[in-house]
């Protein structure tokens, strides 16, 4: 069976920045065998290690690109470069977009890399998810489960 890794990225203390981690938590009890769900910070070698040996990786992160809050962005990063403007995010030099491009350059990127970006409504310290992001999280959890099911059927064929 294909090994798939789902990685939720975010900071629980920063409002909508928690979205990726919340998605991971909601997915964890519901995924089939062979799917690993992890919450992760952006430390590049940590991310690369999390997807080491996987054929497919799904990353979920919050983005701030100017779209309405709750908008879902989807990027197939196995095929195309990650738009650095949307996934810039880190004040500490190496964010998601850079890590993926770094892994690509090093030949350490899984064949299939799908990134879901949830457009944030706010990053207030200590705040809960905003309603728009909360609905996007619920929608995305269903969508990812569907996606994983489809992947299983495709690989079984």
């Amino acid at each position: 069976m294909t090994r798939t890794v789902v990685i939720g990225i975010g900071n629980r203390l920063r409002g909508d920045d928690a979205a990726g981690v919340v998605v991971a938590e909601q997915l964890r009890p519901r995924v089939r065998d062979g799917v690993e769900v992890v919450s992760c910070d952006e430390e590049p070698s940590r991310l690369m290690e999390a997807w080491e040996g996987a054929e497919s990786v799904l990353l979920v992160d919050t983005v701030s690109s100017g779209s309405p809050p709750g908008t879902l962005h989807r990027v197939e990063a196995g095929e195309q470069a990650v738009p650095a403007r949307t996934f810039r995010s880190s004040t500490h030099a190496i964010g998601i977009a850079d890590t993926i491009e770094l892994a690509r350059a090093l030949g350490r990127l899984p064949r299939r890399v799908r990134i879901y970006g949830i457009e944030a409504g706010g990053f207030t310290t200590g705040a809960a998810l905003t309603p728009a992001v909360e609905s996007a999280v619920a929608f995305l959890v269903k969508d990812v489960l569907h996606d994983l099911e489809e992947e299983r059927c495709t690989s079984a064929r």
Partner: protein, 429 residues
């Protein structure tokens, strides 16, 4: 030549948000500014009214790259005021945790942020395409530093296991032994890093300002020490404010430090190495000698070689500390608050980090002052930049901009750290 203005609106490969402006009239340099526009972060104000025991965890949040530096300087200030000296095994564990931070921070800067400048790449990603083995080496080194921080600190970013008086939990010998092999590999990688960086091309540069670093008899000062300078200062942490001052300039959200009464100084790897190279481990000293560094190094471009030598030292020192480790009787000493002012210093990867706290008798923080290395280095960076521009005014704009940005990155500025301050004055009539 006409008047030219060279601007970089958003400096790449530094931690935080800053910009640079250089103005030339013909070959004459009119204005050089490092502008820090990352918003002020008000940490000194949040600390007021909090317990003295909270300072390490609150200040750790100032930086995701060097949280241990903040925790250590805060703890040093509190413990010295409260008259507590922790047992040697606790101090050595702190030093070991701090070595993890040096490894992680230096590996990030050398490989991901700084090396691309010397090799003509826009970023580490392009470098990785042409030299994957070098970038893998850097990532592995950084990872070993992170692993050390995770084991001792509870997690790799903003450790949660550090407290005034010691730790919440100390590792077993067995847990530490597990890091011996990765650290031995990291030490090899660090030696390779020295050999790699020394082969880069270096423009000849010398900074002449005063160099300031901690000194501690018999060791390369990291987690404690007295403040020394190349001009002969030798100060207890409590004397810092008598000799250094911070000024606010309009263009920067960070305060700029200077020697009282005027005078630029530099802290960080060049200062540490120049004042303390004799105390590096024999292996690190040997690597420095092979790299042709001599006893001191005042060349900011060669700071990448000095950082690499410090990587060797930090790996070597970690192995020595693990070998000598004896579990302390208890993870922390009790600390009772004392009213008064406490002073703490340590050597963050980027240089001297000074903390001062005033406490009341029940341990409430009344007032805090934090001076990070990047604030202290701002004037030196601008002076160096002015001189680099003057000497290279004949370059075209693009080449000059590249050289200027590299000049700034030579100092590994952490802009997020430098804007932690609060200096807000409201005048009412």
């Amino acid at each position: 030549m006409p008047r030219r203005t060279i601007v970089t609106d958003y400096l790449a490969r530094v931690e935080g948000e800053g910009a640079m402006t250089v103005q030339l009239d013909g070959d004459r340099v009119e204005r050089v500014e490092l502008r820090i526009f990352e918003p002020p972060r008000f940490f000194e104000a949040f600390l007021r009214g909090r317990s003295f025991l909270e300072a390490p965890d609150i200040t750790a949040r100032i930086c995701g790259i060097c949280p241990v530096a903040y925790q250590t300087s805060a703890i040093n200030a509190m413990e010295s005021l409260c008259g507590v000296e922790v047992p040697e095994p606790i101090r050595l564990l702190r030093r070991l945790l701090y070595c993890g931070e040096w490894i992680e921070s230096h590996a990030l800067h050398v490989y991901m942020l700084h090396a691309p400048d010397f090799l003509g790449y826009e970023s580490a990603i392009e470098l990785a395409r042409d030299a994957p083995e070098a970038v893998e080496r850097g990532l592995a080194l950084k990872r070993t530093g992170n692993d050390l921080m995770t084991l001792l600190g509870g997690r790799e970013i903003h450790p949660i296991n550090v407290r005034v008086g010691g730790f919440y939990r100390v590792p077993t010998r067995r847990e530490l032994r597990a890091l011996v092999e990765p650290l031995e590999r990291a030490r090899e990688a660090a030696l390779e890093t020295v050999r790699w960086t020394v082969g880069f091309d270096f423009p000849e540069r010398l900074v002449e300002c005063d160099l300031v670093a901690l000194a501690q008899p018999g060791e390369y000062a990291i987690e404690r020490g007295r403040i020394r300078s190349s001009s002969g200062l030798d100060l207890a942490p409590a004397e810092y404010d008598e000799h250094f001052e911070e000024l606010h300039v309009e263009r920067s959200n960070a305060l700029q430090s200077q020697l009282r009464g005027g005078g630029t100084y530099l802290c960080g790897p060049l200062a540490r190495f120049s004042l303390g190279s004799a105390h590096l481990s024999p292996l690190a000293r040997e690597a420095a000698a092979e790299a042709g560094l001599g006893d001191e190094c005042r060349d900011p471009f060669r700071s990448i070689v000095v950082r690499s030598v410090e990587l060797v030292h930090a790996c070597d020192e970690s192995l020595r500390l693990i070998e000598a480790y004896e579990e302390p009787e208890r993870p922390a000493e009790p600390v009772e608050p004392v009213a008064g002012t406490g002073y703490g210093v340590s050597e963050a990867p980027r240089g001297l980090l000074y903390h001062r706290y005033r406490l009341d008798g029940d341990g409430t923080i009344l007032d805090a002052k934090i001076v990070p290395p990047t604030s202290q280095n701002q004037l030196a960076i601008e002076d160096d930049l002015r001189d680099v521009v003057a000497r290279n005014a004949s370059l075209d704009d693009q080449a000059l901009r590249g050289l200027c940005e590299q000049t700034i990155r030579n100092y590994d500025p952490c802009i997020s750290c430098a804007t932690h301050f609060l200096d807000l004055q409201v005048e009412r009539r």
